[in-house]
């Protein structure tokens, strides 16, 4: 049975891989491919963040009683990521490769330090605290 940690870690890796391909496309000035990959990346990221914000975090908060703690920090970092998504889109629209790659570089570090915290701490805690409810929460997340 897939745990929340395994499933969500897989989603993180998937997003990382699209981002890596996207950077290659932009560095090669292949803007058509970049536009396609960028749409994929932003859609995958937004879907992932929404899954957490609408299903996982509320379930976590309800079960642990920790409101305004770890999930608040995670939401805050999501907001910072979304700001960079916006700037990524602007750079894509302006076909500014230098600006685009600067944004992906910053986004990458922000995402990775965020992912380490989620994969190492938040997801395992969710699996542990949600216990028998975990599969049901995961199923709800997958429906988002």
């Amino acid at each position: 049975m897939t745990t929340i940690t395994e499933y969500m870690t897989g989603v993180h890796r998937h997003c990382d891989e699209i981002l890596a391909e996207l950077e290659v496309a932009v560095s090669e000035d292949d803007w058509d491919k970049a536009a396609r990959l960028s749409a994929d990346f932003l859609q995958a990221m937004e879907h992932h963040l929404t899954m957490e914000e609408t299903v996982l975090f509320p379930a976590f908060e309800q079960k642990t009683g920790m409101i305004g703690g770890p999930t608040m920090i995670m939401r805050e970092e999501h907001r910072q990521m979304r700001e960079l998504f916006q700037q990524l889109q602007w750079a894509l629209d302006g076909k500014a490769s230098g600006e685009f790659l600067d944004t992906t570089e910053t986004l990458l570090i922000l995402m990775q330090q965020h992912n380490i915290k989620e994969e190492g701490i938040l997801y395992p805690m969710s699996d542990q605290h949600l216990g028998t409810d975990a599969p049901q929460v995961l199923a709800r997340m997958q429906k988002v």
Binding site: E17, I73, I116, K117, G120, I121
Partner: protein, 486 residues
Amino acid sequence: MYGKLSLQQAPPLSVPARFFLTAPVFGLAAALILLFTGKDLFSSRWTPGMLAVTHCLTLGFFTSVMIGATQQILPVLIGSSISKPRFIATLIHGQWLPGVALLVISFLHFKPIIFIPAIILIAGAVTTYAGVILFSLYKGISANESAPGIRLAMIALFITMVMGILLVLGYAGLIPLWRPALTNLHLSWGLFGWIGLLIMVVAWQVVPMFQITRAYPAWLRRLTIPAVAVLLLLKSVLVWSDANAVINTARVLVDSAIATVLLCFALATLYLQHVTRRKIRDVHRDFWRLAIFNLLLTLCFWISAGITGRPEFALLTGVMFLLGFAMAVVTGMLLKIVAFLIWLHLQAANEGLQARGRPGYIIPKMKRVIADRKSNILLFSLLLAQLMIIGAILYPSDLTTPAAVAWLVFFSLLTMVLARASSPSPSPPQKRGRGKILLQYPCGAAHQGQALKISFCNLPAAISRVTITSRMIALQPAGTPKHEQT
């Protein structure tokens, strides 16, 4: 159990920044000592200049950066932050800086009277640091695989320091001087147990993260930490044993095993970098690549030293491990981490401005805080300095001065790049991408309904000026940028 969970992004910027910004100054000092001591420095492992330079680098540069970085990375890895981070950082830094400086001065001038305050201050700093990190690891809730490695590295640092104190007391004539057995052990625990191990376990996190590679092989991650612990203990026992055929063979086997651990790490890193999906050129990856080639070169020198018994190969082994391998990793990481932390700090400051109803700005991102061009110059400067130091050891009379100058240039550049990153100021426009681009950025409540067009070329001027002191980083709002066009 999870009551103290903290997932905050980072301690205050001033916590790691003070260690990062003072570290290159010790590098500069080391290069100056090399410049003024000249070729005599390499005549023996025990020359005052050699001891001073070694400790300027190992303590003043490497350990400083590593102390700052571990305080930064620990909350991310294990979800347990250090309480009162500013106070703790001040306590460590306040003892560390004068302690290391006094130690270096006492080596240079051989003043036993200065050794005593030096070791008291260093012991205070290391004990505080290792204690705080070990306590934090104990409280940590994540079963991160790097955590036991960081724990062992802390213990190794402490053991290295205790041996160092015994050596210094012996050097000052207060107790017998157990040389070379204790010196060799001090070197092994310091280089392999502290610097080497910490770099390896941190690499397990940062190489896959920053370079989008697969994870390091599970067997390598499982075996490395116990292997390092067992090998260091074996080495510690064998060094005191009387030399005979069996003991000598055992020593060679232990050294071979240490070399194998390092070789596996080097090959794994090269392989991961080779199959990475992040195929764009990345200066950070180039620093790592240089580091790994230097590590392989270190192993070649080590084998040559074992076979030929020539002292210059033994010296090259230590020099290439520190100045080749560790220096490239640490410099590459430093550039990346500092750029990200400054961005994070400006981001928080910008959000603070917006929360007070002031216009917000697009924050200069990492490559604008430290441009790739600067990182590239540092990479080539480092490569040149490394080649020069190899030359200086092989041909001391001809190449010592040029090598010292090359290192002086490298550390000067590093100091300038880090200092400038910490205080972004208006800079001439840079060509980025294809032509100049204008961006629409909705800028907070004061400009609701309007959009500011901010040229990226003028961004450094738009952003508030950051001033940095050893104690804090304060952001002074720059007001409404002149170049904005509504």
